[in-house]
Symmetry: C2
Subunit: 715 residues, 2 copies
């Protein structure tokens, strides 16, 4: 009974969006002529200043550079055959996802990044864009596809050469050979350089001998390793002529046609996980397993027949980071997929929050819609603003990635910038996805905890995104080190004179801020004038200046403290660095937040419809001021904001959420998810129907005079 009702209302509630679709070819939805009965829809249409979002145009903008590919991928993700079935056992789920990978192959959906010569399209950005949308169907499908083609296949493509491409790629692309990406070990996750597995060259037999010297060097957490993988790209320390040339990748067959391990190979199933149970993660170990010399993926390092090592990159450190850098696409795609998941959660919770009523605060008869409560707005709308910032930042990130990988703009600096961007954006977006999924589930109460409403399942699957493909904290520390390097380079170029002046200036600056003198002046200027404070905070340049200033000041402060440590012995220098680690990571976060804010602001500049631009400006301000509010103590301590202005930050956020509230439904509708993507009963319109039925019941009783009199009013 409920199901039928849900379906009907769901169709209707998306009607308005669909009518806008005559301009965008989203073939997943069918035409409908009924007007949209979504609660508060009427009120939604007229915001403050009469501004109104052009949902269709905004939707197109959000789809970004590879809009067509995303639309096609979403059409695919709407296919129930590719979607998760809740409650399947781990074994059933694993087999289902393997079958889904085969459907993707049949569909020609996963070869876009491979060379044209092998049937691909050499389209790196488009490949990732399409791949990210698989999260709408099932994150296990996304990640297992990522293991097969984005890691296993991509390693052969980017670390191998012609021989490997022609020999191995066709079967990888067709899924004839499902494979594992055997990098991580039980003992080493993010610290890949320290893995224990060795590949020692045997000149006599012209083979590499792959060996696991101890338990901690078992390969671990590898998708496809527990059951389906018949080969792997194995990362190991390449040893020849008694010299360790560092981590290299080798193509290693794992299992025979019956699924049994080949000689010298063993392993274990990682078993049940917190999520992503459609992937067969497992452990592998190697006891003197021999592979031909040619199985070294030798783009960045070769071993001649006689065991002589050679590499186009002289520095072992740079070589290592270059090899790892070719695998940055994993981080790129997680940023996009995590942002998609956050957007879905908000589309579900805001749709529900616009229909669900609870407690009658302002009326004797009608209860309030959840999203009319300030707290509810405060819980969801800032997260919506962050999601928008991430969407804009991600598209720029993907454009950058495409430029590097297509060779269009592929200098060392480009690659470094790309990696820094990846290390900055992936942590923020994956954490944001978890926080948003959780807040959305809590904002939907007990209903949010039911699997049928999607949020708990998505959260379980996305949990691991914050520690895989580089632990978020480790990545942010990389960003901070890059910022410190940039900072010191600035002075290396400038010479000692500039440095000395800078130090003086820093000190002067410290005294100035530290004793709060500038702040006092600001306080007096601001006195009694909240309006002026707000006007200034709304200003784009003020926001930029405040956000930029914080990154620079944090890095400058830390650099100052680390400067003396350079002369210390290694252990003591490490201790000084360690005492600044927490703040370093916070500085990296500040940098990443600034990247997102800049991208949002550029996106805003590209928005032409005036109503949409107005609403998006409020969203950008909400994002920017949200960052200021989060770090308000820093701004106060460093004299960048007077107490008066600081108070205006929170007050203005309150005003912004009130202004944005009528546009909330439009802003999530612009994500363009169809009911087949959200698949959440509470976002189907069923709640609206229940509310209407309950209100009609009481109204009819009241009209007929049959409603029992409350005891209280009787007295």
């Amino acid at each position: 009974m409920v199901d039928t009702a849900s379906r009907t209302t769901a169709k209707q509630s998306h009607a308005r969006e669909r009518s806008a679709e005559t301009t965008t070819p989203k073939q997943t939805r069918t035409a409908a002529s009924a007007p949209a009965p979504v609660a508060n829809r009427d009120r939604d249409l007229t915001g403050a200043n009469g501004s109104r979002v052009d949902i269709a145009a905004l939707g197109r903008q959000l789809l970004g550079t590879w809009a067509d590919i995303r639309i096609a991928a979403r059409k695919r993700a709407a296919n129930p055959e590719l979607q998760r079935i809740d409650g399947q056992s781990m074994e059933e789920h694993r087999e289902r996802v393997l079958g889904q990978l085969k459907l993707l192959v049949g569909d020609g959906a996963v070869h876009r990044a491979f060379p044209s010569s092998l049937g691909g399209h050499d389209d790196h950005g488009g490949n990732i864009a399409g791949f990210e949308e698989l999260v709408l169907a099932d994150p296990s499908l996304q990640i297992k596809a990522g293991v097969q083609w984005g890691l296993f296949g991509a390693a052969v493509l980017h670390l191998g050469t012609e021989y490997h491409h022609t020999t191995f790629l066709p079967d990888i692309m067709s899924l004839k050979v499902p494979g594992a990406f055997a990098m991580t070990e039980t003992g080493h996750g993010s610290d890949v350089a320290a893995i224990g597995t060795t590949a020692t060259y045997d000149e006599a037999k012209q083979q590499f001998v792959i060996n696991t010297p101890f338990r901690g060097a078992w390969k671990d957490y590898l998708g496809n390793a527990a059951v389906h993988g018949t080969a792997a790209v194995v990362f190991a320390q390449l040893i020849t002529k008694g010299v360790n040339h560092g981590v290299h990748a080798f193509y290693v067959p794992l299992r025979n046609t019956k699924g049994g391990f080949l000689k010298g190979i063993g392993g274990e199933d990682d078993g049940l996980k917190g999520g992503l149970n459609g992937i067969d993660n497992g452990r592998l170990h190697f006891t003197n397993v021999r592979v031909p010399r040619a199985n070294l993926l030798n783009r960045y390092g070769s071993v001649a027949e006689d065991g002589t090592y050679s590499s186009p990159i002289a520095s072992p450190g740079r070589r290592f980071f270059t090899m790892l850098g070719t695998l940055v696409q994993g981080r790129v795609s997680l940023d996009g997929a995590a942002t998609n998941a956050a957007a879905m959660a908000l589309a579900i919770a805001i749709t529900y929050g616009n229909q669900r009523r609870q407690f009658n605060a302002g009326s004797d008869t009608d209860e309030e819609v959840l999203l009319d409560y300030q707290r509810h707005q405060r819980r969801l709308l800032p997260k919506l603003a962050t999601t928008y910032a991430q969407i804009f930042a991600h598209d720029e990130f993907l454009v950058k990635f495409d430029a590097v990988f297509s060779g269009e703009s592929d200098t060392d600096d480009d690659r470094q910038d790309l990696e820094t961007m990846a290390a900055a954006l992936k942590p923020l977006s994956t954490w944001h996805a978890l926080e948003t999924l959780q807040e959305a589930r809590e904002a939907s109460g007990g209903a949010g905890f039911l699997a049928e409403n999607r949020m708990v399942g998505l959260r379980q699957d996305l949990d691991i995104y914050v520690t895989f493909e580089g632990d978020n904290n480790v990545l942010l520390q990389l960003v901070a080190k890059r910022l410190l390097t940039d900072y010191s380079k600035q002075f290396a170029k400038a010479g000692a004179g500039v440095m000395a002046r800078y130090v003086v200036q820093q000190t002067a600056d410290r005294a100035y801020h530290g004793t709060g003198l500038r702040r006092v002046a600001q306080t007096i200027a601001d006195f009694g004038s909240t309006a002026r404070s707000v006007t200034s905070l709304r200003d784009e340049n003020t926001q930029r200046e405040l956000l930029t200033d914080r990154v620079e000041e944090m890095i400058a402060e830390i650099a100052g403290r680390l400067r003396e440590a350079r002369k210390l012995p290694k252990a003591e220098a490490a201790a000084v660095f360690n005492r600044n680690q927490n703040e370093l990571i916070e500085a990296a976060r500040a940098h990443a937040e600034l990247l997102q804010w800049e991208a949002f602001t550029r996106g805003l500049a590209n928005t032409s419809d005036p109503g949409t631009k107005q609403v998006l400006t409020w969203m950008r301000d909400l994002f920017g001021l949200g960052l200021l509010e989060k770090h308000l103590a820093w701004y106060l301590i460093h004299g960048r904001l007077s107490p008066q202005r600081a108070q205006a930050v929170s007050a203005y956020i309150d005003r912004l959420v009130e202004r944005l509230r009528p546009h909330a439904q439009d802003l999530v509708d612009a994500f363009g998810y169809a009911p087949e993507h959200l698949r959440a009963k509470i976002a189907s319109g069923a709640e609206q129907q229940r509310q209407d039925e309950a209100r009609a019941y009481y109204a009819a009783q009241r009209a007929a005079g049959t409603l029992p009199v409350p005891e209280k009013s009787k007295k």
Copy 2:
């Protein structure tokens, strides 16, 4: 292989704790004489000032008022028969937990709160203490037991009278009648007063007619409703003689002996949830279902044969809250269980963080132990301090609960205080459990995501704790309303003169703080003296004053803004209230944090061993300063802390985590969990063994001169 190793090392790693146990009868562990080989154990024993924790004594203190009952309950929870098996299907898990409830009955473990006359012990505090420990075995077991005896049974006990006790309780206690607590409806969760189900008295037949008037009034999310429940306590609007007397509870049989619904009753399975899948939550609806007049649980409201309603409580509002107040024990037990779960997560992650090594920052050969990284300390130790605060606060809470329910101290004020405490503490501890489980899982990397390491499963189960038994945000709003009432009562008593003076004073105060004059003075006084700032922040009274001041000031400010709203029409008054909702909830949180800080401080006063007292003082300071750091912007804006002192807060927290780091293992060992409770492979000692093996391998190669030379050093 790993399993055997894990078990051995697990035994050993708990040896030291066990040796301390000669004084505490925790029978779950066996004697051992080997010294503890836990990593860094040696360093752990000597903290700054040579202070050292007396683990056994601290462990006893943490067990609190009902230590013996907790120890017995933990012994029970160590029984594999009561523990969760990961990967079971929902159906299997449900049947397993039902079987476990029967084991508890056989064990005499669940009747403590029931009357002695029926075989119970009239022991309310002890009952909850034991119940909370069930979370160690399986949260589904805890909550299903809670549904049967803490909700269904407790409703009959507290809302019913003699007839109901003798008629229904024996079968409830024995589990002959598994039952549902049918309060929540699809349309109404936390707003119980607004439920739609009606119970209309039919004088002719002397029966109540239970009816579900529309879909939103279906009972929903009820444990035992989907499969096992054969009866329910149903909450419905009691209507007699055309008057609605508000929500009352009725005993209603649900199913026949074959498991089929009785006439007029229907329902649905809620299906898979985000966690707690050992409980069969479901929906129920009633179509004019008749029950005898005597089935009204009539302690607080009776209907005579002729339909005349009577109640010992004249006010319908007070009657409603009194009835609901008898069910406060759910919130009490969630506070304790959530704190247990946070403690388990920290015991796992800190043990692992003390053994796991990653990256070699300060040495060429050895990698760093995770817990030696500042960021790692910053992530886990403040959460440990909060967990300690919660343990102390919970014991006081439970003592209060026991005093009220035993009748020892059961005035209206006592009940109100108890409910406010429940509404304040339950939200903070349940949110803290989720945050801690997540941080602990992330701090354990990919290993934290494996089901075998417990944290993801616990987090999935505890997720719902933040919205059931009262949504956390709704509860905090209740606390805030109570604070506002207390605040206005203060002035009602004092009369108009005091009020006027207060307003003047408030205004003066605002100007004083608002323009930062006091802060400027403080800045100058503090100038250059971080040491003095720190000394003052370490002072107990300073912390108390700062925390108390914030609650009072926030409430005073909000009360000031709401004062004018009183005269407005209802809708407008509601709008003004709504504009302050977010800050109101934050004020309630501040109040709850103060309660926890006060309890921690009282606990500290009861600690006699000097070493333990020193370490616990650092922990309390870490908790207190953590609160200041979280709300630092408020203290700066309101002129309570100068920028100089504010900066000292974070600096001192950095020093505290460094000081506490050597005691981290002791502090989690004091929780007293045995390996049978933690059941996490990464906390079993297996990691230490892997690290030792890897280091021994490299050391041996180095000694033998067979370690391949790194390419870098060769150049």
